[in-house]
């Protein structure tokens, strides 16, 4: 891949050097990736899920709650892409509308984990000494609690629903973020340019925001992409167990859970929504892996 981009860069160096804008740099980094079919496909699936979360009504013409008993448990066909469920509701529409709940829950969870994990990690990495030791012991303790069980304990305490589930999942993935951030901050902190910034008279806060964080960001962003997928799986798991949104609203996990009663007669009711979840999470993992490989 480096050989493919080389002629381009020498050509650019021959003409008068101009500082590239952020957008140009971004598109230049992205264009070789887009030529890989796997990456483009994964990006497309993730974008589709995000679009479904934002404008579900734009992607389907059915109403997710409109029941029609005459059409119950129809197998997938040209009209009902994923078939219909036990009340005759179009399953594809339910999946698209479920995306808004599931993706929002996952975004909220990753947001909480990012805020908490970045905060703790930066504090531990920057403060060092006793603060660092205390925070890292807390992280060790949180890591010893299996993720789903910690989430279950939180859900027991704060109640059921999409938002509590998202909070519980978010708290569960804080430790990973805190560890990665701390490791990166520790690595960046010792680099010469941080010292230079400090000698130049920049305050700690400015050094942190302008010099340390932008350079410590990469691995954390990869982890965030990976954990976005993990958060989708975890929220789906919790709503599968029956702690998610109340019916008739349906998250992906709830859809799969409802379908399992018809597994013998109508397997698509739970298997197709699940396949969609697999596609989204697999795409997220693929994106994260590509970014990781490219960063190296």
């Amino acid at each position: 891949m480096t050989t493919a981009t080389r002629p381009h860069t020498t050509q650019a160096a021959a003409s008068a050097w101009k500082r590239r804008s952020r957008l140009q740099r971004f598109s230049q980094a992205l264009s070789p990736l887009l030529r890989r079919p796997g990456f483009s496909l994964a990006l497309l699936v993730v974008l589709f899920a995000l679009a479904a979360a934002l404008v579900p009504h734009g992607l389907t013409s059915f109403d997710p709650y409109a029941t029609s008993p005459a059409e119950k448990l129809r197998a997938p066909d040209a009209l009902h892409w994923f078939g219909t469920d036990e009340l005759g509701r179009d399953l594809y529409t339910r999946v698209v509308y479920g995306a808004s709940l599931s993706v929002q829950a996952a975004l909220l969870a990753v947001g909480i984990a990012l805020a908490g994990g970045l905060g703790l990690g930066v504090l531990a990495g920057f403060a060092g000494g006793r603060t660092d030791a205390a925070i890292m012991r807390l992280i060790d303790v949180l890591l010893a609690l299996p993720g789903l069980l910690l989430a279950l304990a939180i859900v027991t305490a704060i109640g059921f629903g999409t938002v509590p589930v998202a909070i519980a999942v978010g708290v569960g993935i804080i430790p990973g973020f805190a560890r990665t951030t701390r490791a990166e901050v520790l690595r960046v902190k010792t680099l010469p340019y941080v010292e230079a910034a400090r000698l130049g008279g920049a305050s700690w806060a400015r050094t942190l925001l302008r010099h340390v964080l932008p350079n410590a960001w990469g691995p954390v962003a990869v982890l965030a992409t990976l954990d976005f997928g993990a958060a989708i799986l975890a929220t789906a798991g919790l709503s599968f167990l029956g702690f998610g949104a109340a019916p008739p609203a349906a998250e992906w996990g709830t859809l799969i859970a409802n379908g399992r009663h018809f597994l013998i007669t109508a397997p698509w009711v739970s298997l197709l929504p699940g396949l969609f979840v697999v596609a989204v999470v697999f795409s997220l993992n693929h994106l994260a892996r590509t970014f990781e490989e490219n960063a190296r």
Partner: protein, 318 residues
Amino acid sequence: MNRYLIGRIGQALLVLWGAYTVTYFILYLLPGDTLAIMLSASGMEADGLSPEDLAKARAYYGLDKGIFEQYFDLLWRALHGDLGQSLSLNRPVTALLAERLPQTLSLAGLAIVLSLLGGIGLAYLTAYLQWRPLKVALARLPSLGFSVPVFWMGLLLIQVFAFGLGWFPATGSQGLASLVLPAVTLAIPSAAVYAQVLQRGFQGVWQEPYIATAYAKGLSRAQVQARHALRNAALPILTLVGLQVGNTVSGAVLVETIFSRNGVGRLAQEAVLRQDIPVVLAIVAVSAAAFVLVNLIVDLLYPYLDPRITHAAKVTRA
């Protein structure tokens, strides 16, 4: 070595205590009204009770004391093996756990064995194969493995192997045949993790000089991989086995619910559904204990499996 051992055990106990404490504070302090949750868990309505009855109930559940007094009381009793009473089932939690643990232990044990076999087998095959397209496809397989929701995989396996082919029972907890599908379901995510790490391990190991030496001795590719590459690439797997215990326990909650097995995972799901706080606390504490114990064993095993690692300082001070 002895000092290391004592220190390591002390650290494990400290983590366990921390886990218990964190869970206690989540379960007993986070809810706005713990008493209402406990009353509704035992089948009563808080609104229908007179203030005297409420005060009596508060005293019965030990909620009238200070937070720390309650906490130390619970901790003291937990240390003596008394994990309290289940609110909804009216039985001691210890008895419930003792009744359900064997189911979960056999499930988790079989799952760990299967995940190791599957993960190492897949990575070994990937490293051995020479045909490029198949190699790439196998290298992508692990990331598919942990993208699949555990519960969906379970349903798929039920659909294919129980309803479609009729090889195994779909649900139930009797006999070895009923253990196969749940264990396979539970093993897949862990196997994917092992396979991915081992695949990367093999890639790294092939560059090492001792591989060149092994070839120079006249060993075949198969011999080099089995005797030299695998043993060096497989070491990180041991740490991962310890870390995956948490995921296995988490997965057990889902798997036991799908396959309706009477294990601790299902107990956890039911306890959360009924907001049975003492049971949830006990299950979280027991699984944290399992995690800590397995990781302690893994740490202590390391020097025996990799002689380069010693816990005692070798270098004497000058």
